[in-house]
Symmetry: C2
Subunit: 262 residues, 2 copies
DNA sequence: CGTGGCTTAGTGGCTGAGCCACTCATTCAC
DNA sequence: GTGAATGAGTGGCTCAGCCACTAAGCCACG
């Protein structure tokens, strides 16, 4: 049988964090304003103050609020204070995917990917080359579902980032790709064409192996631009399917997509 | 008087988070192993379990551990699971600055800066140009301390990132620059030479204004490479001063550097 | 002899009540 | 005026306890 992913964890604090995060991102609280006092907010949400505090501290770490002793929880401007860990939450909102933000993300992935490929080609360490070749080899195996191809493509790019030798880049990539882990299925449709993926990545690997930065960047950009179009399209189709399912009422909850909880 | 930054917040949860984070980053717990049970750990640290939980949830959000109901807190590999929000903590460790990580950070800043400048020049929106010019104008004013120049230089680059029109890039920059806010003084020495900064950034602005991506990238890289050398040197000198102060014993705690708590 | 249900120990999730500490605006003494 | 004292409002932290989940061992049933 399929290797099921574990069910998504939904603790009370998760739910609280999501609810408050969405409200803040929706602009329900003005920047610089304070949230209601903890005791009040906890009462209103029917949860214990301790649980609420856990959620608030998460929001603080996300850069959405600043909790100040004796003052309250001040709402911040994410554009000023939030870090890359917010990307996933900005793209995947409660009411669906934010298309404009997804475009930004795809553009960022493309441009950064080109930069990473260039840098990897300049470095060209043998250990890194082996790590790049492994997922590409596996991409030739049978059977190979779109989900498998997607996983291997991701692995290739993670190896590419590591091949730059810069750990900051790896962390940046982790922040960007944290989306994929939880919502990979939304983009699965972009990975049907295995031949295209394999041939494109082969060209990247060759260029990196040859120590040809310009060619590595060019080949990577070429792939990522096309892949970006497909990711965008896949997300659009996914949204339409979600919408259609929504119209059929209870089917939405009963669909039973694995690895998801409503 | 100086515009003091608010005192760094040092709550119990902060201290706990720092202590545990450092222990994990030092490799005191093996990857995949579990931390001691919450009750035990709280007892050992002489704090309440609730406070410890707050700290553990922060570590989970940093990608250092995974808290699992019924199992325990599993230590993860930061290279796999941590995002850019960890950068600041990797560079600034309890026992000083991690020089290798700082090198990575400076390299990342340089390469990304070049990319951002190129993209900004391609976009070339008039609002963004105004936002770029403002800090540069102010850089010509008197009096101007190194700290002021540092602040304005940072503001210029933040404006440059915004000028790319890509919000993901802004978040990435926030993650990188979160260091500056708290530890700017470590790098202050790199901003003595105002003329160099001003002339370099003028060249960047001109290229962006002219819509010349190649030149914008070139000028930015030129500046950031030199600036990177100075940042590195400033950090090195700072570390030596710290070391010397440490040898004089209590002076370390009594020095009373503003905005810091030991 | 394996399958599935039950039990139990160990772990994190969450609660409610309460007190401490910080901030700010007001008040009051000088 | 100026500055200290006050008090209301807010978050910080603790305590004690119960609930819920996980894994492992046991046992009855087929």
């Amino acid at each position: 049988m399929d290797d099921l992913e574990p069910l998504e964890k939904r603790t009370l604090v998760d739910l609280l964090t999501t609810k408050l995060r969405e409200e803040i991102l929706d602009g329900r609280y003005a920047k610089g304003a304070t949230l209601p006092p903890e005791r009040e907010l906890a009462d209103a949400l029917r949860v214990n103050r301790t649980s609420l505090k856990h959620a608030l501290m998460r929001l603080e770490q996300l850069g959405l609020i600043a909790i100040r002793h004796g003052i309250g929880s001040v709402v911040l401007d994410p554009a000023e204070s939030a870090g890359m860990e917010l990307v996933a939450h900005l793209v995947f909102r409660a009411d669906g995917i934010d298309a404009a933000m997804l475009d930004d993300l795809i553009e960022a992935r493309t441009l950064l990917g080109g930069l990473f490929a260039r840098r990897a080609a300049e470095r060209r360490s043998s250990a890194a080359l082996a790590a790049l070749a492994a997922p590409l080899d596996e991409l030739g195996r049978e059977p190979m579902s779109a989900a498998d191809a997607q996983r291997l493509e991701l692995e290739f790019f993670r190896a590419l980032v590591r091949a730059t030798g810069n750990r900051i880049f790896s962390l940046a990539a982790n922040s960007m790709y944290s989306i994929y882990r939880a919502r990979a299925h939304v983009f699965e449709g972009a990975f049907d064409d295995r031949a295209f993926i394999r041939e494109s990545l082969e060209r990247v690997l060759s260029a990196v192996r040859d120590g040809a930065p310009d060619e590595a960047e060019r080949a990577t950009l070429e792939y990522l631009k096309e892949n970006g179009r497909r990711l965008s399209k896949s997300a659009r189709l996914h949204a339409e399917r979600e919408h259609a399912a929504g119209q059929r009422g209870l089917l939405r909850a009963a669909r039973g997509r694995r690895g998801r909880v409503s």
